[in-house]
Symmetry: C2
Subunit: 291 residues, 2 copies
Amino acid sequence: MSEVNPLPAPIASSGLVLSRARRDPTYQVSATDETGARADTTIAGEHPLTIYVDRREIVTLMTLGQAPEALAIGYLRNQRLVGSLADIAAVQVDWEVNAVAVSTHAGIADLDRRMAHRTVTTGCGQGTVFGDLMEEIDSVHLRNDVQLRQTGLVALLGLIRDHDSVYKSAGAVHGCALFDNLGDQCRMVSFVEDVGRHNAVDAIAGQMWLNDWDGSDKIFYTTGRLTSEMVIKAAQMRIPFLISRSGLTQMGHQMAERVGMTLIGRAINRHFLLFTGAHRFVPAVNGATER
Amino acid sequence: MSEVNPLPAPIASSGLVLSRARRDPTYQVSATDETGARADTTIAGEHPLTIYVDRREIVTLMTLGQAPEALAIGYLRNQRLVGSLADIAAVQVDWEVNAVAVSTHAGIADLDRRMAHRTVTTGCGQGTVFGDLMEEIDSVHLRNDVQLRQTGLVALLGLIRDHDSVYKSAGAVHGCALFDNLGDQCRMVSFVEDVGRHNAVDAIAGQMWLNDWDGSDKIFYTTGRLTSEMVIKAAQMRIPFLISRSGLTQMGHQMAERVGMTLIGRAINRHFLLFTGAHRFVPAVNGATER
């Protein structure tokens, strides 16, 4: 289970109403192993969650349900359906009906056109609002006055290794985490797991709005592959450092080069591969001997 | 690289026109490892592919591009936009413009309504046409007169282990495979890798149409997690056996129980966990000693 509470306290000053409706992350099922022995097993939850905005059905996501309010907000943010947290009056999850009701102060202008456009650009798990994202990527400028030290990266990977997670007990989920960069150390400010890596990154995008976090000096970690979409979403959050345990794709690489992001893959314990944005990376003086 | 050609020869008798426009699966990029040494690395391709049906834009998928014609056909099949292969006159991929043009004989009736419905049910990588799929799942009847022997399963896992793959050289992709069940042996009839597991399963669905394969006695293998959507798609192909190297989710488990599918996870070499549909599974007589 995540130790980092994925939701901030309701923001009273803004009047935003938030439920805090987390699901149990894991369940027990019975299985039989190759010897014929019974092997009770922990598996990850998966729940449909239909997002309604001002009573209009938008989408059904399948989710682990660890940060459903932030997921709904981040989904609407990343789909460019809501432009600012201030537009949202309430986000209320009701697992009795697997729904999250988002109320806006003034409605969403032009929703039909936006939804229609989404239809032709939303990929089946790959190209979410790809057309929109590509149009915006060239307007993104990531900060170049921030650095990631190798010592800080290794510290970050140690925090990930030691963090309690649904993945460790049940597998079948991806995790994303957001870190403050403290030089030789890092501080985990958020950790979200979900059955799809898209949900996990969307939930963190929602948390960033809810907490008014500035991404421009943060570090984003994901267990998932570094595809074009992951790079583009990090860029849109203005995050200059993107780190993954997994590999990357050609377009992920191209997008990171295009936007000047520091992209690090295959990052486990002390090992990693630095692919792009080396100008922000500070190697350890004795890096070669620390292996 | 896949050794199994993912596309059949053009079906002259039906007059279906098919391109055969595969992309290179991997590319080389330069990286720096933790010692500061240069580490040239193989990474997986990722290409946008926009599907047009009768010149109307449907969706942009991000794909490895190993079976783009079958992917387009399988996507339209699994989204329930095309009801039969006989409706399709031509599928022509042009990587110069990252597009696949699908021509139908008589158009798609009611495309606007179908697309609109898809908008509200297509998840961001999780819940593709979830509403539609759930409606259909209860009408599926999987064959109960077929069996999977433990010896055959272990033979299948050996074929997977020995199969040359993009994953082995570049990571960052998921693989799906379809097998004939020969009792103590299995025969791989298809193997498709893609940057998203949804694409890989859709491409196999397309190949099944193209080759007129009956799924009712076949075995489906995936490297990806067994979520509700994966179980539902296998059920719609009438495939009674679904096997994964990875774990499963609660809804994947529930859906498999609901439709009576034989679901096997954590399947690597001789090891596996049998979760549901045990009535079709024949343990090895000396299963306990073979460990």
